[in-house]
Structure formats: C-alpha cells, structure tokens
Amino acid sequence: MHFGIVTFPGSNCDYDSYHVVKHVLGHEASFLWHKEQSLEGIDCVILPGGFSYGDYLRCGAIARFSPIMEQVKAFADRGGYVIGICNGFQVLTEAGMLPGALLQNRGLKFICEDATLLVSNGHSPWTHQCPETIVAPIAHMDGCYYADKDTLGRLEERGQVAFRYATADGQESPEANPNGSLNNIAGITNEAGNVLGMMPHPERNAEAVLGDSSGAWVFRSVVQSFLEGASA
C-alpha cells in the first residue's frame, strides 16, 4: 500500500506520519508537496498536523486552496482513503470534505496531553481493527468540533462519529472532553466512510516507545480495508 503525505507550508507532522506508515508498518510512503497536481499511484492520502500557512485567517482556510486539494477531493470522490489529522482535519472541514468546523478550545488554551478515545463506530474503514478505546495525544488550540443541530443529528444517525473523548477507563464523559467539542466528538468520517478527520494524533502513539502504540490501529485498519478492497 502506498501512502501519500501532503506537505503544506507549515505542516510539521508530515515526517511523523511518514515514519509510522513506512518504518513502523512497512508500507510505501511519499511526500507530496502541496503544489503537486497528481496523486498517481497513491492509495491513501494523509493530511498531516501542523500550522499550514501559519493558521492565518482560520486554521486550514488557506491550505484548502492549495493546488493538490483539487486532486485530493477528486480522489476522495472516487472512494480513495483520506485521513486528516489535527490541522489536516481543519483543512478537510474548510474544504467542505467533512461537515462542521473546528473552533477555538473552550478553555482558550493550547492543550497538549494524551487523550483516551472511545471508538464510536467500529465498522468504519479506519476503526474496524481498533480496540474499544485507543490513546492518542492531542496538541491543538482550535479543536472544538461544532456543527449545527441538523448536521450533528445526521452525523449521529449515520454513524459518522468515529471517535469520542473518554475517560481513561473508556467511559464517554463531558469531563473527559478537553476542548468543548459537541457530543464529545474527536473524529468523524464522511458519509461513505473513506474520509476521516480527527484532532488527536494516532501517529504519535504508534510504537511501544511512545506509549501503548494503540494509535497504529487506525493505520492498520485502513491498510486492511484497502487490501480487502483490492482483492474484492
């Protein structure tokens, strides 16, 4: 499987993602400069964390106009797997590829800590291999997920909530919600399930030296989904 990691000016988790898919999981990986116009040969696109374009105006607002984003959209429309992590999630909402928006954290502080995530929909291409909970660090200022009532209702109805913030023992709870996200949402998919956006960083907990390595299950899940799709 070949992962393509998009580098925007200001991306800073591109190497972490590259390391995980290439060296930890043993797949092919390439960096894609944001001005590239082709995704040929790529099976999964990663929009990494960071501060694309300095977070100017709104997080992700400028990056969505990068030349490669047209290709990423078309790729997702064809069913290609796309994951946006942290700033990548913000880019996906700004681009209209995922519903809703990410607002400034309720507490007005940048938060950097481990988060326990309850897998809310264990049937998505990104979660079907995950245990009931995974641990992934968060590091963000604008991670408060917001969508209007109707959109939120549709997300819940269609099982598009992939992850919710939970206590260490795996109970979903408002106290474990670090940033004020509606419905404790930490990550969502599009309706088809092939596009995932999440504020926590699964790539930062994908090997034992960094924690319980449970973040790797997100990547393992999509690899499995891809291989099953390829053989079907």
Partner: protein, 81 residues
Amino acid sequence: MKIRVHITPRKGVLDPQGQAVSGGLKSLGFSAAGDVRVGKVVDIELTDVADEAAAIAMGRAMAEKLLANDIVEDFDVHVLP
C-alpha cells in the same frame, strides 16, 4: 476604493473569547457589559471597481469564498470613506 469586511461568530456558536472579554469588562467595573462577541476586521484596497455597489458585491464574494466560514461566522461589508 477601500472596503471593510466585518466577521463575527454566528449567533448560537460558542465564543469563549467573547465570554472571557465579557468577564474581564465586568471585573473592571463595567457591570453593564453583557454578551460580547469577538470577531475580525479585514480592510481591502480594491483597484478598478466601477462603483460602491460593485465593491460591496466583490467584498461579499471574497467573504463567502475565503474570509468567513459560513458554518460558524457571519459577515457584513462596508465601503470605507
């Protein structure tokens, strides 16, 4: 011609910055301070626009496409003197 685009958090959208400012104003003795919304101002110099109506139409198009996120923000556009 110069236009000013005002961007504010949409009604009903949590504005923690506004809440913090409201609390700050109250603690400074401005007990009249109620709900506060903190937004942004973008001033844009336009060249080659026919008239004020065209300038405002262009400002609105800019806001819709880039300057504001209509899921969480409202905007209005004025021509500056």
